[in-house]
Subunit: 104 residues, 2 copies
DNA sequence: TTAATTGTTTCCATTTTTAGAAACTAATAT
DNA sequence: ATATTAGTTTCTAAAAATGGAAACAATTAA
């Protein structure tokens, strides 16, 4: 007999576990290695292998591996393709330091 | 005589004006065209020309123009180089839809 | 242990981005 | 209007990312 639970309940259960995507209020500095870790976390939450995710995205498992381990940089387009295949939304924001300006 | 005001005060004054970076709570979908607009907004807040920003980053003004108008995609590394030159921090987060999972 | 699965690394070819330079357009100032 | 500044587009070459394939390593299952 199978039991159906929501992803929210899963998050409640596994919140804070390494390798899982945490709640919305968690923000990350935009860096390639952090992005790679997020891709891996999202893939694992979807219970996919790199090969399966590769099929969804349309690339080979080797590309997914390279992205997750941030072997090199990546283009925005590639990042978006992968998160889209994982049915995940990515948001960002920019914060500028509170420098002082001279008003003439 | 010059008057010195903080960037916060500037934001208070110009909040909502087109082409300015708005407050932290404003989030943006991670897309190349939105990133380009943010680069332009940040550059203008720093009161820099494309040529000056190019010098800071170490590229020609043409590259800056291409990024801002999102003529093509861009690598994460390039995006970060530009925002760093603008002394701006970029954060992101991933939200996964609340799908249902089958637990065996 | 062995077999099967999953993930990593390497090689090569192709595509795309990055870069400099110059020509061009648009906007601003004198 | 003309000159100056700012931004865009095009051209070329170089660097880097992407992609397929196979070999390799690591993990898991039987």
């Amino acid at each position: 007999m199978k039991k159906t639970i929501s992803l929210s309940e899963m998050k409640d259960k596994y919140l804070g576990m390494p390798g899982t995507i945490e709640r919305d209020q968690y923000e990350y500095e935009l860096r390639m290695d952090v992005l790679g870790k997020m891709i891996r976390a999202a893939r694992l939450e979807r219970k996919l292998t790199q090969e399966e995710l590769g099929r969804l995205v349309g690339v080979q498992k080797a590309q997914i591996s390279k992205l997750e381990s941030s072997a090199n940089s990546a283009t925005i387009d590639t990042i978006l393709k992968v998160f889209k295949a994982l049915q995940a939304e990515v948001s960002f924001y920019v914060k500028m330091e509170d420098n002082f300006l001279q008003i003439p």
